[in-house]
């Protein structure tokens, strides 16, 4: 919509205000003002930031309507897109319920702030009033510039030809600030070498702690990783939690009928052929494992209790 407005506003080179421009102004002016007030009076820090975003967007659109599309979009990209995004980022990290303390830390701070604020407001009003009465607008519209190629080219010529040195100095200052911030951030931290994925795999498989398969959790004294081996507590006794319940329940609940069946077939009790157990559904491959589990479960039962 903003793009539409900017193109719809006729290109006027002088100071007169077209209808479209005044309509846009009387819509966006109150919106920008509301954004400023909302920023001050919001309880929530993120809401304050959002109100400020609203003000900045309105300002950007106002720039566009005033024949400065480059400035307008740069305002939106740089201020709303990057700087306010960083603000919101930090505020979100702080937490959604963080609110300002209303305790006055510095004595007389509010009074000083009020006086200075009123003074600043007076200065701004005086400057704007001076501009409106005595200074006429210059250099708006596409006819501006040495080759009359419009706003963007004229701006480029100004920055990169006429004022190249101040521009370079400013960029040097910004880069210095950025590098300084990084130095402060990383100062005192030894540079840690990041092991690559391959290095970590090799270390895990062949290093001092080489072990294949998963390892016992911290605090567990175990002599093997097998589920059949009970874990030992620091005093040497068996940790009850490490005994598998599944193995016991398999023996008692699912195999009783089988055992009885086998016993009835093989005659006197005591001469049970364990390999004849079918185990639940009686599928072929389950028989061997059932046998193993059964015997282990019995061993464990003896060892633990």
């Amino acid at each position: 919509m903003s793009a539409l407005l900017a193109s719809a506003a006729p290109m006027t080179g002088g100071g007169e205000m077209s209808t479209g421009e005044s309509v846009v102004f009387w819509i966006l002016g109150p919106v920008a003002l509301a954004g400023g007030l909302g920023m001050i009076f919001s309880r929530n820090a993120v809401h304050s930031a959002l109100w400020l975003v609203l003000t900045m967007l309105s300002l950007g659109v106002l720039y566009m309507v005033q024949q400065a599309p480059f400035l307008g979009f740069t305002q939106i990209i740089v201020y709303t897109g990057a700087i306010m995004m960083l603000f919101v980022f930090v505020l979100m990290m702080v937490g959604r319920d963080a609110s300002d303390s209303v305790v006055e830390v510095l004595r007389g701070q509010r009074l000083a702030a009020a006086v200075l604020g009123v003074g600043l407001g007076g200065l701004a009003v005086a400057a704007v009033a001076e501009t409106l009465t005595t200074v006429g607008p210059v250099g708006l519209g596409p006819g501006y510039g040495p080759e009359a190629r419009g706003n963007v080219q004229a701006l480029g010529t100004s920055i990169f030809r006429d004022y190249l040195l101040p521009f370079e100095l400013t960029s040097a200052l910004l880069i210095t600030a950025a590098v300084g911030a990084m130095v402060y951030t990383f100062a005192g931290q030894a540079r840690r070498k990041q092991a690559s994925q391959r290095e970590r795999v090799v270390e895990r498989l062949r290093g001092p702690l080489a072990g294949y398969g998963s390892r016992s959790g911290p605090g567990v004294f175990a002599t093997a990783d097998s589920v059949a081996t009970p874990a030992l507590l620091p005093d040497g006794s068996v940790a009850p939690a490490s005994l598998s319940q599944i193995i016991e329940s398999t023996r008692r609940e699912r195999l009783d009928a089988d055992i009885a069946d086998v016993q009835s077939q093989s005659g006197p009790a005591g001469e049970v052929d364990a390999r004849a157990l079918r185990g639940g559904d009686g599928d072929g491959h389950g028989a061997g494992s059932t046998h193993d589990r059964l015997s282990e479960g019995e061993h464990e039962g003896e060892g633990a209790r």
């Binding site: 990209i77 702690l209 093997a224 040497g236 464990e300």
Partner: protein, 448 residues
């Protein structure tokens, strides 16, 4: 071949549009984007389906084309849930903020050259600004607010993590995106999208500026949060990312924004690097190919090619780890684009001040010097190769002569008591020695 219009020609042409024509264009772009979104969802599911050797949606409508319409309608009638902890106003604004800029960006995309609509001469473009490319960047930077605020306003940790990722991701990749555009602007001499298309009359910028194109293509995927860079909504880590708590139409709006953004950036890439609506080579020999309504076909064909690559990437590549993704952006894409911009600018200056022969001579001398310097670099000593562990069936196994180390004395005393109790059940084997080490050290070491 018709002569190339001077810079700013389309701008004045479009500025003459009557109000009804602008309204028609707005309406057409809106409807077009909605339809393209529906088509894209179907297209993505079909193509990914083909890549995974299954048919994809093929039941509703011809070729399943109405599937996404059915899904969209179902989504609209679902219950709209708002979490108790959500920030009411922001929770509502966020989806709107993410959709609107996605649509606005289309206002500056040139779909075709000068045509006549109901007797009115105009270009197939809503508006042409002297800073058209910046409109796209501005829209994408506003669109991120939708994602970031959605995560924050949901009042739950996973969406918040997703939105933090998204904020960092988009700021990083927007830099690379902006830097890759600079070279195009240097060559075309204008920020206006219509002028950039006009400037590619002699040849597309993909051939002239391949590095810029690659960087743009990569950061375009990062900017739209698509696989393999879809970290803000990484299902395996963050449930749904920023839209975990959203449902019904609000969720549909996020979905819409994602697909419109994809189409937008594909269209921008087409405009900047593939000659926009200009016909590709064999077709461009036909004089009428770049006139009238035909260019719409070429434009959407090229855009569809980009969209296919999006889907292809999603069907092929696994999601990147977050640090890998950031490293790619900051340590590879941005430095390369900076160097490339410096190189392009230097060449531009040299072209205007030196003749081709002089450039070739200087370039040859520099090349010889570089090759000579490269020869002076001493060969790197081959790294000492440790004997690799023997591999059976692609998995390393312990060496055959593995000697089990004795259990340390300290532990043996503690264990001795219990060992007497359960002599039978104690399996003695290779595992015994390994596990005698401090048990806590193993997993934590592996995790770092």
């Amino acid at each position: 071949m018709n002569p190339v219009p001077p810079p700013g020609y389309y701008q004045t042409l479009i500025a003459d549009d009557p109000f009804w024509l602008t309204l028609i264009k707005v309406l057409v772009i809106f409807v077009l984007l909605m339809l393209v979104t529906l088509f894209m969802i179907w297209f993505e599911r079909r193509v990914v389906g083909r890549m995974q050797q299954r048919p994809g949606p093929n039941w509703n409508g011809p070729f399943g084309l109405l599937q996404s319409l059915a899904d969209g309608l179902k989504l609209a009638f679902k219950e709209d849930i708002r979490p108790v902890l959500a920030d009411k106003a922001v929770f509502f604004i966020a989806p709107v903020l993410s959709v609107v800029p996605a649509f606005v960006a289309w206002s500056v995309i040139p779909l075709g050259p000068q045509v006549s609509i109901f007797g009115e001469q105009t270009a197939l473009q809503l508006t042409d600004l002297p800073v058209g490319v910046l409109v796209v960047l501005a829209c994408s930077s506003i669109g991120v607010y939708g994602i970031v605020l959605a995560g924050w306003a949901s009042g739950s940790p996973y969406p918040l993590l997703g939105s933090l990722r998204s904020a960092a991701q988009v700021i990083s990749y927007e830099l690379a995106l902006g830097l890759s555009i600079i070279a195009v602007v240097l060559y075309s001499g204008s920020l206006s999208t219509a002028d950039i298309v006009s400037a590619q009359e002699g040849g597309w910028y993909i051939w002239l500026l391949p590095v810029s194109f690659v960087i743009f293509a990569v950061s375009m995927v990062g900017e739209t949060n698509r696989a393999p860079f879809d970290l803000p909504e990484a299902e395996s880590e963050l449930v749904g990312g920023f839209h975990t708590e959203y449902s019904s139409l609000k969720f549909a709006l996020f979905f819409l924004a994602e697909y419109v953004n994809m189409v937008t950036l594909s269209a921008v890439a087409t405009t900047l690097f593939l000659g926009g609506w200009r016909a590709p080579w064999p077709l461009s020999l036909w004089a009428g190919a770049n006139e009238g309504w035909w260019p719409l076909l070429w434009f959407f064909g090229k855009t569809l090619a980009f969209l296919f690559v999006y889907v292809w990437l999603r069907g092929t590549l696994p999601r990147q780890r977050y640090d890998q993704f950031m490293r790619l952006g900051w340590k590879l894409l941005i430095p390369i684009s900076l160097l490339w911009v410096v190189l392009v600018a230097t060449l531009r200056v040299l072209r205007s001040e030196l003749t081709t022969g002089q450039i070739l001579i200087v370039g040859g001398v520099v090349l010889v010097l570089l090759v000579g310097a490269a020869l002076l670099i001493p060969d790197q000593a081959p790294p000492e190769e440790d004997p690799e562990p023997p591999v059976v069936a692609d998995y390393p196994v312990p060496p055959l002569d593995l000697a089990v180390p004795p259990t340390p004395k300290r532990r043996r005393r503690a264990v001795a008591g219990s060992r007497e109790k359960q002599k039978d059940s104690e399996p003695v084997g290779a595992g015994t020695g390994q596990d005698a080490e401090p048990a806590g050290a193993g997993p934590s070491k592996g995790d770092r």
